[in-house]
């Protein structure tokens, strides 16, 4: 069981994530969008959306820090375990709470603003459940679980268990033992995280993969020849991107 969870599932997740993303990029360029609802409502969004997104960016950075960088490296920089944890707790806590507050506001907005709710698909709703669960579980281990542990043992050091397991995945020798030694709270958070990454390519979250960083480096004006088909999906040579026609009145 442990081997399935901590040695097989991660690879399955990566296969689905990468394969699914490639497949969707080829098959569904037209559906690849933020599906922004700002047109309907912007007062709440103006505040909540940056809160959520910037919070999430820092959360992702924090995960990279915690999982990729070995403890020995930060120690070599003169950062003690306690110091590191204090840093992670404050920065991670702030980012995490910001993310949570942002997504709660966004979901409240989604539910209470008529047009936004109408534009919410079942796919979106399922994704929100997983996303919120991952954030909640993450905040739980960072803030609550750690605080309790801290009171008794001085904080749980996940960089001794989860971190090495994560890195071991990259050289295909998953250190299952390290992960099973971690508290169940961490394992639950990891599982939810893997679920989120598995469904990632099939939800609207994909827009994150096309974050327009190249905008910083391209000229303002774009010329393109009519003949240049541009990077379209495979096999979609003559296809044009339009939604199905015929305004059906949106009666419920």
């Amino acid at each position: 069981m442990d081997i399935v969870l901590w040695a097989a599932l991660p690879y399955l997740m990566v296969v689905v994530l990468v394969g699914g993303t490639i497949w969707r990029y080829r098959y569904d360029q037209f559906g690849w969008t933020t599906r922004s609802s700002q047109l309907y409502e912007s007062r709440l969004l103006r505040f909540a959306s940056p809160l959520f997104h910037f919070g999430l960016l820092f959360v992702v950075l924090g995960h990279l820090m915690g999982l990729v960088v070995p403890q020995s490296w930060t120690a070599a920089l003169g950062l003690s375990e306690n110091g590191y944890h204090a840093l992670a707790l404050t920065l991670g806590g702030v980012a995490g709470i910001g993310t949570l507050a942002g997504i709660v506001l966004l979901i409240v907005r989604r539910r209470t603003t008529g047009p936004v709710f109408m534009a919410t698909t079942r796919n979106d709703k399922a994704m929100y459940v997983v996303l919120v669960a991952a954030i909640l579980a993450g905040l739980w281990v960072t803030l609550v679980f750690n605080a309790i542990e801290r009171a008794s043992t001085g904080g749980y050091n996940y960089r001794a268990t989860v971190g090495p397991w994560f890195r071991s995945l990259f050289w295909f020798q998953p250190d299952v033992g390290k992960m099973t030694a971690a508290p169940v709270d961490y394992r639950i958070h990891t599982l939810i995280g893997m679920l989120l990454l598995t469904i990632f390519p099939f939800t609207r979250l994909v827009h994150a993969f096309t974050a327009p960083v190249h905008y910083l480096f391209r000229p303002y004006l774009v010329y393109r020849s009519r003949d240049a088909a541009g990077p379209r999906g495979a096999g979609a040579s003559t296809a044009r991107a339009w939604s199905p026609v015929g305004t059906r009145d949106r009666t419920r």
């Binding site: 969707r24 569904d28 360029q29 037209f30 559906g31 969008t33 933020t34 599906r35 922004s36 609802s37 700002q38 047109l39 309907y40 409502e41 912007s42 103006r46 959306s49 940056p50 959520f52 910037f54 008529g114 047009p115 109408m118 698909t121 796919n123 939800t203 609207r204 096309t210 327009p212 960083v213 905008y215 910083l216 303002y220 004006l221 774009v222 010329y223 393109r224 020849s225 009519r226 003949d227 541009g230 990077p231 379209r232 999906g233 096999g235 979609a236 040579s237 003559t238 296809a239 044009r240 991107a241 339009w242 939604s243 199905p244 026609v245 015929g246 305004t247 009145d249 949106r250 009666t251």
Partner: protein, 580 residues
């Protein structure tokens, strides 16, 4: 010099009667889809008025277009690249749906379903965004014909600008008001700021004909272009989450047909043709320091298609011979540069717009006639143009960043044409001092008159076709039903609405027609016929009421749930040939 061709349009505002036919036919062609209910690629505004979306010209609020920085460079008014990326999670200056209007339909079913009673049943307005009952408070042309002008017109950004600039008191009492219509489409600018603000780089200008398009596959819905466009002619499709804009009907232009708005214009006020321009100098011209010099700078970009040097350069840059020939016959070039009577809309936005306007003389003529003067006498007209500061000032704010001279000059030429030709028409000896007074000859005025008043279809629309060697790529010709996922690619893909493989335009049109004919919904309407789609051949069933005693000779299908009934023979034909 790098010569590029641009399909441009000129609209003669004197002829616009504000019938909105262009808007309606455009909507039927391009934006009759869910998610696009509020979208008008073509709209007709009454000026003075708020425009659509409301007060779109107020760039202090909407931050569209370019600004010139202290170092003489251009940057989007909404901020440079870095600032745009930082505000990507919530665009602070995106117009809200309330700046447009909440689209609605009516609950028509109630009219039929309501039980018998004393009260007449009503079709309540229902919001197309929520499906709930709604109150209609605004629409795309709510202030049409100065409706509600005492309340709304003072908010017209152009009037406000005049007021602050010249401290002019613009009278808006009904009987003293001047009014004209302004049809608007995408300007297909030479220096588009929508393109500059698109983080994905999905908006591009076609090198062959200058048409600005949104690559629907590359657009990721960051919605910065909506802010970037100062004319607010990029719309966000709220169902697909992608930006859409006027396409200048490129599938029609490619095969030499005018755009739908031009084709259906009852006033025949639109002209389509080629401009040749120097692409190398666009940035420099757009960065001209003095706003009022932007119009001359843009005029300077337009190259003379009869100039040998230009022709040689155009050949070098790969412009085909038939395009050069079309450029020499271009009505838009003549109106804009030869006669100088067409002017760009809001050059101060620095986007170098390519849909130009012949300013209307009628407000001036109206004032003259109302005061009992001869509205076609050259002297009267010239005098009026010089003294009627308010209409001229208003037009100048629209077309020349406030410089009245080019507007007055264009109007004087129009006035000269009017009185010179009247004399001609009445058999009098034309007064040659009239053309001389506006720096033209009598023959030139005659030519201009022919172009403005009697030009036929092929003179108004000089559109060279796209090249045959490129035919495989043309949308309007391709029979693409056999592509993967061909017919039946409707409804929702696996990721919600609008995901999945895109449907080619021609298939879509075919199915849209079929759907419209068949989706009347109720079973008792199955035999009704939609006149809009009748191609004139045959006598579709249900078009005329059944005779009380059906003659034996006429065969009639048995009434019943036959989905094919009520479709014209043409509909079948289209289906068969489309599939072949």
């Amino acid at each position: 010099m790098r010569v590029m061709a641009q399909v441009g349009m000129v609209m003669n505002l004197d002829k616009c009667i504000g019938c909105h036919t262009c808007s309606v036919t455009c909507k039927q062609t391009w934006t009759n889809r869910a998610g696009m209910e509020y979208v008008w690629f073509n709209n007709v505004e009454t000026r003075p008025g708020l425009g659509y979306p409301r007060r779109y010209e107020d760039q202090e609020k909407f931050r569209g277009g370019w600004v010139r920085t202290g170092r003489g460079k251009l940057k989007p008014r909404s901020g440079g690249r870095f600032k745009r990326l930082l505000s990507i999670f919530a665009n602070p200056v995106l117009p809200n749906i309330s700046d447009y209007y909440e689209p609605w339909t009516y609950d028509y079913e109630k009219l039929i379903d309501a039980p018998l009673g004393d009260d007449f049943p009503v079709a309540r307005p229902k919001s197309l965004l929520t499906g709930e009952d709604t109150q209609i408070t605004w629409s795309a042309n709510w202030d049409d014909d100065l409706g509600g002008a005492p309340q709304h017109a003072p908010d017209d950004p152009v009037l406000q600008r005049m007021r602050t600039k010249a401290n002019e008191d613009v009278r808006l009492e009904y009987e003293k008001a001047f009014m004209f219509y302004l049809p608007r489409i995408c300007e297909h600018c030479l220096n588009p700021s929508c393109m500059a603000s698109c983080p994905s780089g999905a908006i591009y200008k076609r090198t062959e004909d200058g048409i600005v398009l949104v690559d629907q596959d590359r657009c990721r819905g960051w919605r910065m272009c909506v802010t970037g466009c100062p004319y607010k002619k990029i719309y966000f499709n709220h169902r697909t989450g992608k930006a859409e804009k006027c396409t200048l009907c490129y599938p029609r232009i490619e095969v030499g047909l005018p755009t739908v708005c031009s084709e259906t214009c009852v006033g025949r006020l639109r002209y389509l043709g080629l401009f040749l321009y120097d692409a190398d100098r666009v940035g420099e011209a757009a960065a001209t320091e003095d706003e009022q010099q932007l119009y001359p700078a843009q005029l300077d970009l337009l190259l003379d298609p009869d100039d040998d040097e230009v022709i040689a350069a155009a050949r070098r840059d790969g412009i085909p011979e038939d395009w050069l020939a079309a450029a020499r016959r271009s009505p838009v070039y003549r109106l804009a540069k030869t006669y100088r009577i067409a002017l760009p809309l809001h050059p101060e936005f620095r986007t170098m717009p390519m849909v130009w306007y012949v300013p209307p003389l009628s407000p001036v003529v109206d004032v003259l006639s109302r005061t009992g003067h001869d509205g076609e006498d050259a002297g009267n007209l010239f005098g009026a143009i010089d003294t009627l500061r308010i209409p001229i000032g208003y037009l100048a704010e629209l077309f020349t960043a406030g410089d009245p001279a080019p507007v007055a000059s264009a109007l004087r030429r129009l006035a000269a044409m009017r009185s010179y030709l009247r004399a001609d028409n009445l058999g009098e000896t034309p007064d040659e001092s009239i053309p001389a007074a506006v720096g033209m000859t009598g023959a030139q005025l005659q030519e201009m008159y022919r172009l403005l008043a009697v030009a036929k279809y092929e003179d108004r629309y000089v559109i060279p076709t796209a090249h045959a060697e490129q035919a495989a790529q043309l949308d309007e010709l391709g029979c693409s039903l056999e592509t993967e996922g061909g017919p039946g690619m409707y409804g929702s893909g696996p990721f919600g609405e609008a995901s999945g493989r895109p449907v080619p335009v021609s298939i879509e049109t075919f199915h849209a027609l079929r759907q419209r004919q068949e989706s009347d919904g109720r079973s008792d309407t199955e035999h009704r016929y939609n006149l809009l789609n009748w191609d004139g051949s045959g006598r579709p069933e249900g078009m005329f009421p059944a005779p009380s005693e059906p003659p034996a000779a006429v065969e009639r299908g048995a009434p019943g749930p036959d989905p094919g009934a009520g479709r014209p023979p043409g509909g079948h034909d289209a289906g068969e040939s489309g599939r072949g």
